[in-house]
């Protein structure tokens, strides 16, 4: 799992390379908890993300809800084909404009 993170005031971007699965979920959660404490809007780049499973997905959903409750937003700006197919199947993050990598 590789994270590439950038902060610009209360706006952050995070690119995730690797699998967003149960093995990565704990680390992803800690990172998102830390990030969400600092930013109001977060853009995720999942173009280099491989697999995504329920464990990974629900962390992203929880982060999105957390930011939305604070008046911010989590958007997915790019997703790998694998991730995009999961999001499409589940109608998750459907309100985002994103490009399919």
């Amino acid at each position: 799992m590789n994270y590439d993170q950038a902060l610009d005031g209360d706006h952050g971007t995070l690119a995730i390379a690797g699998d967003l699965d149960i093995y990565a979920a704990a680390e992803l959660k800690e990172r998102l908890v830390a990030l969400c404490a600092e930013v109001r809007t977060l853009q995720l780049d999942l173009s280099a993300t491989g697999l995504i499973d329920t464990a990974g997905l629900q962390v992203l959903l929880a982060a999105k809800r957390h930011l939305a409750a604070e008046g911010g937003a989590l958007t997915i700006t790019a997703a790998s084909e694998t991730c995009a197919s999961v999001f499409t199947l589940l109608n998750a993050f459907a309100d985002n404009d994103r490009e399919v990598a």
């Binding site: 699965d21 149960i22 997905l57 999961v86 199947l89 589940l90 998750a92």
Partner: protein, 643 residues
């Protein structure tokens, strides 16, 4: 849980799973459309992944995870595994086997192998053939089904990801809509990353049955709440808001799992030992009760004896397993030998359900492997040779098992080139095993291949002929109180027939006496008993045989064999024992009748004592030695030859 070794438990389970994985892969190689095999394979890999993760075998878990993904894709896409994928998965299976044996972190070369497998499986993943073969039809209700899928919170910890099940619905119908139910999702900071909080509401369109939908969730049935609403109800619910019909999967899978349980083999051994003592003690009580001559006591002892015998039989049956389970590995051997040598061989397995004691199965594995390899390597000809001989290009190797009067018989047959009598004779003469031109019966000649140092293979190959000969096989089988014999027709093939006792722990014996000592002859070998007067004894001793109703019967006096001093008895009792084709008249002083003998191994000092295979404790507490009949038959032949 004191004394509960997680890693050891995993190794046992892993061994079984690897067998299932291997046979699943080989079945799929034969018939890629075998859905049941794909199903079983997926389940085995999935279970392996979960078990490996729980027991700290991370390296196994990682590769299994990717393998599972590949299988899941193939499964949900309704496609098939390619030959290359099967080969990669077989390599992964071997990799897991090596990893499971380790106590420490894998050495670098294994770790590198793991990385290679990860990338191979990943690549295979990307090109998985997902050509749908068409969803199963059948009479079902067409329209929009509503499926509520609520995985239990601990589903992830059980190694299951709910997502693929949702996706798999797409293979049986058209997914119209999926609603994520995330009401249970806590605040980000409060989340347990390995707890599942999500649920799914799926609208699925198609001509479907409840069973078809339930089967999609088969693996997760115990880990979820599933509600299925057929089209009419679903439509009605939209208008009237009727309560959802609950459609939890029937508990068939669960009850099948609950119907059997895993028991430590050591506990069984301990139990068999205790039951053995119980049998002995009961016999002891029986003897005392006979002496006391109390009718009530005698009746009670009769009932007790019957009950103890039932307990004994049931205990022994606990240790009985179908022999076929250990044969699955031969599929792999056949496959690998074919790849290596270019031969074409199909393996036929018959009588796989034949049950035999677990310890027999374990100890016959290596000798059988040797025989199978011999048949593959030396028996079955290359395809072109076979075609030239007018045989089908593909040879057939048959493994067969059946019960025969207290024994299990295992046959390994091939339709290959058979054994050349001339070459056996030449070889045996060359090795000095027989004198040049010595007259031998056909089966004697054939069975020379079991002599130490004998090997007819003209060339030493990687597979067999590495100095381990059929003599080792024969000794291993004899150590199990079994026999092995060979039949062969030149040009048509060979059959190796192994005869083994069903269990090694208890035998029904026939108690005989010699000069005050008692000995046990395995009862299933006893054919009849006759008497021999002093005159007959002298003649028999001189000729080493008895004329039994005009037939030749080899004779061996135990008195002579054991060098017992004394005059002997006026009427010597001859116990006629038969073992396979061979017979022997065994001269003893007295006959006592049937006895149940719990076999105890002799200590280190006496384990090589000729003619004795073990000992048992009799009802009165004295020790009786168990006679090793095959060894005595050989001894008689040797003595007769010397004179």
């Amino acid at each position: 849980m004191a004394g509960f070794d997680l890693r050891e438990t995993f190794r046992i389970e892993c061994g079984e799973l690897l067998v299932a994985i291997e046979s699943g892969l080989l079945r799929l190689e034969e018939d890629p459309a075998d859905h049941e095999a794909l199903h079983g394979l997926f389940r085995a890999v999935h279970t392996l992944k979960g078990a490996a993760g729980l027991s700290g075998f991370g390296a196994i878990e990682r590769v299994a995870h990717v393998a599972e993904n590949l299988l899941e894709q193939v499964r949900s896409g309704g496609g098939t595994l390619s030959a290359a994928q099967v080969t990669t998965l077989l390599a992964a299976r071997d990799h897991w086997e090596q990893l499971a044996a380790l106590d420490d972190e894998p050495p670098p070369e294994l770790a590198a192998e793991g990385e290679a497998l990860l990338s191979d499986l990943g690549a295979a993943n990307a090109v998985a053939d997902t050509t749908p073969t068409g969803a199963g039809g059948g009479a079902g209700a067409a329209g929009r089904w509503r499926i509520g899928f609520r995985p239990n919170p601990d589903v992830l910890q059980h190694g299951l990801d709910p997502l693929p099940f949702v996706r798999h619905l797409g293979a049986i119908g058209d997914i119209v809509d999926v609603q994520l139910r995330d009401e249970a999702l806590p605040a980000l900071a409060d989340m347990e990353p390995e707890t599942c909080y999500l649920g799914f509401e799926v609208t699925l369109e198609g001509e479907l049955t409840r069973e078809a939908i339930e089967s999609v969730f088969e693996f997760v049935a115990d880990d979820c709440e599933l509600t299925i609403e057929p089209p009419a109800e679903a439509a009605q619910r939209k208008t009237a808001g009727a309560p959802a019909a609950s459609g939890r999967k029937p508990a068939t899978a669960l009850s099948a799992a609950a119907a059997s349980m895993r028991v430590d083999a050591r506990k069984l051994d301990l139990m068999v030992n205790h039951v053995g003592e119980l049998v002995t003690t009961t016999a002891n009580i029986g003897q005392h009760s006979n002496r006391l001559d109390d009718e009530g006591l005698r009746q009670a002892v009769t009932v007790l004896t019957r009950l103890v015998e039932e307990v004994r039989d049931q205990t022994m049956s606990l240790r009985m397993i179908p022999i076929g389970e250990s044969w699955e590995r031969f599929r792999r051997v056949v496959r690998d030998v074919c790849l290596e040598t270019g031969k074409e061989v199909s393996l036929r397995i018959q009588g796989a359900d034949t049950e035999v004691d677990k310890s027999v199965v374990e100890r016959i594995g290596d000798p059988l492997m040797h025989i199978v390899r011999n048949a593959l390597d030396h028996g079955i000809e290359p395809p072109d040779d076979r075609e030239g001989l007018g045989k089908p290009r593909a040879g057939t190797l048959t493994l067969n098992a059946y019960h025969d009067s207290g024994n299990i018989v295992i046959e390994v047959s091939d339709d290959g080139r058979g054994l050349s009598r001339e070459r056996i004779r030449a070889r045996a003469e060359d090795k000095g095993l027989i004198a040049p031109g010595q007259a031998l019966a056909d089966h004697e000649l054939l069975n020379l291949v079991f002599q130490p140092g004998f090997s007819t293979a003209a060339k030493v190959t990687k597979l067999s002929g590495r100095g381990v000969g059929m003599d080792v096989v024969k000794r291993a089988i004899e150590a199990l109180r079994g026999t092995v014999e060979l039949e062969s027709v030149e040009g048509q093939g060979s059959t190796v027939r192994i005869r083994l006792p069903l269990t090694l722990a208890i035998i029904d014996g026939f108690l005989v006496g010699l000069a005050g000592e008692r000995y046990v002859v395995p009862l299933d070998l006893v054919q009849e008993c006759i008497e021999l007067d002093r005159n007959g004894q002298r003649t028999a001793a001189k000729r080493n045989y008895i004329d039994l109703r005009g037939e030749y019967l080899p004779y061996l006096s135990m008195r002579r064999l054991f060098g017992t001093p004394g005059e002997g008895v006026d009427y010597e009792n001859i116990v006629i024992v038969g073992h396979g084709e061979q017979k022997l008249g065994l001269g003893v002083d007295e006959l006592f009748g049937e006895v149940q003998a719990v076999v105890k191994r002799l200590g280190h000092t006496f384990q090589d004592a000729p003619g004795i295979s073990g000992a048992t404790i009799l009802g009165d507490g004295t020790v009786a030695l168990i006679l090793d009949i095959p060894a005595l038959i050989q001894e008689q032949e040797r003595l007769a030859e010397e004179e």
